[in-house]
C-alpha cells in the first residue's frame, strides 16, 4: 500500500478492538496525507489520552502522545514555535470536549493552522464506557446505568461559534469523505475541525444494543445526510455531513510574524 510508508508497521496489529471506527479513520487519514504527498519530517501528530489518542503511535510522523485533554495546548506550542510544520491533532470526544473543551474553543478562536480531528464515538472508550459530553441523553453507559440525562454538544456548532475557520463532519462509514475533508483541512490555512463519528462497538454499541460494527456503520449511513439535503428537510433528526465552513481569516502564526516585523522595523 502506498500508505505503508506513513505507518509504523511494527506496532500492528494495533490495540483497538475488532471493528473500532478509529482504525478506519487512521486508514483514510493516511490516504489524505499520501494524496497530498506530505513530507513526513514536516508532519507532527499530537494526541491526548484515550483509545483515539493511541493513533499517534501508529503513524510515522513526529508523534507526541500527551495528556488527557491537552493535545491542542501542546500543539499550539509546536505550531507557534515552528510554523512550517504540519500539525494534526486527533482527539477523542472526551479528550477534545470534556476535559479538553477549553483548549478546543481557544484553539478555534486563535485560528492557528492546526488540523483537529475529533474521533467521536460518543463514549469514553479507553476507560471502559462512561458517557461523554457527546453521548447525549437516553444513552446507557457505565456511569449511566439508568440512561444519561445530559444533553450533548454539537461539535460543529461549537467550533463555528468559537471561531474555527474550517469545519466539517463525516462518519467512519463515509471513508471517502474522511480522506477528502482531512485533505481539505490539511490544506486550509487556519484552524480546522473535522468531526468523524466513529463506532465503538465494545462500549457504545454493545451497551446500547446497536449491534456489531457493520450494523453501527449502517446506522451512520441511515442517520446522516449531506448538508442542506432534501432528506434533512424531510427528517430534521438526520445528522448533516459536509463542510460547514471554509473561510479565510487571519492565521495566528502569520499575524505574529507580522507583529515581529512591525516591532523589528521599529
Amino acid at each position: 500500500m502506498a500508505i505503508d510508508k506513513y505507518m509504523r508497521e511494527r506496532f500492528f496489529p494495533h490495540i483497538w478492538c475488532p471493528g473500532c471506527g478509529h482504525g478506519t479513520i487512521l486508514n483514510n487519514m493516511l490516504r489524505a496525507v499520501d494524496e497530498l504527498q506530505l513530507n513526513q519530517n514536516e508532519m507532527v501528530m499530537v494526541s491526548g489520552i484515550g483509545c483515539s489518542s493511541r493513533i499517534s503511535g501508529y503513524v510515522d510522523f513526529h508523534s507526541l502522545h500527551t495528556l488527557h485533554g491537552r493535545a491542542l495546548a501542546f500543539a499550539t506550542g509546536i505550531k507557534m514555535s515552528q510554523p512550517n510544520l504540519s500539525v494534526i491533532c486527533p482527539m477523542g470526544d472526551g479528550d477534545a470536549l470534556a476535559i479538553g473543551g477549553n483548549h478546543f474553543i481557544h484553539a478555534c478562536r486563535r485560528n492557528m493552522d492546526i488540523t483537529a480531528i475529533v474521533m467521536n464515538n460518543r463514549i469514553y472508550g479507553m476507560t471502559g464506557g462512561q458517557y461523554s459530553p457527546l453521548s447525549g441523553s437516553g444513552i446507557t453507559a457505565t456511569t449511566a446505568p439508568q440512561k444519561t440525562i445530559d444533553r450533548e454538544f454539537d461539535i460543529t456548532s461549537l467550533s463555528l461559534a468559537s471561531g474555527a475557520t474550517f469545519v466539517a463532519r463525516t462518519t467512519a462509514y463515509h471513508y471517502r469523505e474522511i480522506t477528502k475533508y482531512i485533505k481539505e483541512a490539511l490544506q486550509h490555512p487556519g484552524f480546522s475541525v473535522v468531526e468523524i463519528l466513529s463506532q465503538c462497538p465494545t462500549h457504545f454499541g454493545r451497551r446500547n444494543k446497536l449491534g456489531d460494527a457493520p450494523e453501527m456503520l449502517k446506522l451512520y449511513k441511515q442517520n446522516t445526510t449531506r448538508i442542506g439535503s432534501e432528506a434533512k428537510q424531510n427528517n430534521p433528526e438526520l445528522i448533516e455531513r459536509g463542510i460547514f465552513r471554509q473561510e479565510i481569516a487571519p492565521e495566528y502564526c502569520a499575524e505574529y510574524a507580522e507583529l515581529i516585523n512591525r516591532v523589528q522595523q521599529g
Partner: protein, 382 residues
C-alpha cells in the same frame, strides 16, 4: 565595566536572564506577583524574533512550552502558587518525557488564593512533590538580582544538561523589588545549548537512550528523526511499554540523572562560615534578612555565619552537613511554616540543634524577628 547596569524588578531580571540564556519562546497566563515576567516577555520577545503566547490558562501554558521545546527552542513559563498547582500534572509529563523547560514560581502567600500580593516561600515542598508519582526535580532560587540573573541562566543550563524541567522558585519580594543588576555581556556566563543527536538520517536514533556521560541527545520535532514522546512508561524509542525491566530502568534513570548529580547541581553562597558558632541557613528573599543579621552581628564580633542555598532540590544535604559540622546551633530562616528546616534536620547529625526563624503573616521577615528567635534559643527570653 563593560556590563550594563539596570535598576529593575526581579521579574524583569528573570526575563533578561532568560533571554541571555537563549530563550525564545514563552507562554503564560497572568497572575500576581509573576505577571511582569509575561509582560516583559511580551515586549522583548518580538524584538529578537522570539514568540510570546498568552494562553487560556496555566495548564495550556506549560503544555505549549513543552511543545515548543520539542521543536528545539528554549522555553519558560512563569506563574505563582495557584497556577503552579494547576501545572502539576503537566510538570510530571515533562519529567517523564524528559523535556527541557524552565518553570518560574513567584511565590505568594498560600494556601489557595491566600495573599496574592505578599511574599512567601510556601511552595518549596510543592516544587519537589507536587506532581503525582515518584520523580526527581531541580529547583533553584536566589536572594538578590545579580544572583537571580545567574540562577535563571543556570536553570536553562541545567534543563538542557539533564533534559528535565527546572523550577525557579522566586517570591513576591524578589519579583517586585528593584535594585541594581549588572547585565553581563554575551559570553560572560557560559550557556549550555541543546545537545542534538549526531546520528545521521536513516540511522536508528534513540531519544531515550542515555549516552555514556548520561546525557540524552535530542532531535527536534521537524528534524530528520521521527520518534515518539509519551507520558506513559516507554522504551528507548519513546514507545509505550509495560515491561517491568524497562519500567524499573526508566524510573531509576529519571531519579538518578538528578539525584546522582546533586553535587554538580548544588549552588550556594557562604558568609563567614569558617569560624561560625551559629550557622544561619536561608534562601531566596529571607536570605537578605539573614545576611543583614549576620553582617550586623559580625560587626559586633559575634561568630555568626550564613549558608545561603541557591539550589533547593535536589536538597544539598551533604553540603549542609559539612558546613554545619562545627556549628553550635543552626537557625533556618524562611518565610513559611517550616519546610527547608525539615531537610536541614534530616541532613545534620544533631537535628535537635536546628531551629526555625520564620514569618507567615504576609509581612517580610525582619532582622528583629530573627534576632528574637536567637535570644530565645540562648534562653534570653523575648
Amino acid at each position: 565595566m563593560t556590563q550594563r547596569t539596570e535598576f529593575i524588578q526581579g521579574n524583569e531580571v528573570c526575563v533578561n536572564a532568560a533571554l541571555y540564556a537563549g530563550l525564545d519562546f514563552f507562554a503564560g497566563y497572568p497572575i500576581t506577583p509573576s505577571s511582569e515576567i509575561a509582560e516583559t516577555m511580551a515586549k522583548q520577545l518580538p524584538r529578537i524574533g522570539g514568540k510570546f503566547l498568552q494562553m487560556e490558562d496555566e495548564i495550556s501554558s506549560i503544555c505549549s512550552i513543552i511543545g515548543a521545546s520539542l521543536t528545539g527552542h528554549k522555553v519558560m513559563t512563569a506563574t505563582s502558587g495557584p497556577g503552579f498547582s494547576l501545572m502539576q500534572e503537566t510538570l510530571g509529563f515533562a519529567v517523564m518525557a524528559e523535556i527541557p523547560c524552565v518553570i518560574v514560581d513567584v511565590q505568594r502567600g498560600g494556601p489557595s488564593t491566600g495573599l496574592p500580593t505578599h511574599g512567601s516561600q510556601g511552595d518549596v515542598y510543592q516544587a519537589r512533590w507536587g506532581t503525582h508519582g515518584d520523580h526527581a526535580i531541580i529547583a533553584l532560587t536566589a536572594s538578590n538580582h545579580q544572583d537571580l540573573f545567574s540562577m535563571t541562566v543556570e536553570a536553562f543550563n541545567m534543563a538542557e544538561t539533564y533534559r528535565t524541567p527546572v523550577i525557579l522558585l522566586m517570591d513576591e519580594i524578589t519579583g517586585h523589588t528593584r535594585e541594581p543588576v549588572n547585565l553581563p555581556e554575551q559570553g560572560e556566563i557560559p550557556i549550555i545549548g541543546r545537545l542534538r543527536t549526531s546520528v545521521p538520517e536513516g540511522v536508528d536514533y534513540h531519544p531515550y537512550l542515555p549516552r555514556e556521560d548520561g546525557r540524552l541527545p535530542m532531535s527536534d520535532f521537524g528534524g530528520k528523526h521521527r520518534y515518539n514522546v509519551t507520558g506513559l512508561y516507554h522504551d528507548m524509542w519513546g514507545f509505550p511499554t509495560t515491561d517491568p525491566n524497562v519500567i524499573h530502568g526508566l524510573i531509576h534513570h529519571l531519579m538518578d540523572k538528578i539525584e546522582n548529580h546533586a553535587h554538580e547541581i548544588t549552588r550556594y553562597r557562604e558568609y563567614y562560615l569558617d569560624d561560625a558558632h551559629t550557622v544561619l541557613i536561608s534562601y531566596g528573599c529571607s536570605a537578605r534578612t539573614a545576611l543583614h543579621v549576620v553582617n550586623s552581628r559580625r560587626r559586633r564580633g559575634e561568630k555568626l555565619g550564613l549558608l545561603e542555598l541557591q539550589s533547593l532540590w535536589p536538597f544539598p544535604a551533604e553540603l549542609v552537613r559539612a558546613k554545619c559540622a562545627h556549628a553550635h546551633y543552626i537557625l533556618v530562616v524562611e518565610m513559611n511554616m517550616g519546610q527547608v528546616v525539615h531537610e536541614v534536620k534530616k541532613a545534620v547529625h544533631e537535628p535537635e540543634r536546628v531551629y526555625l526563624a520564620n514569618r507567615v503573616d504576609g509581612e517580610f521577615i525582619t532582622p528583629t524577628d530573627v534576632r528574637g528567635i536567637m535570644r530565645l534559643i540562648h534562653g534570653r527570653g523575648v
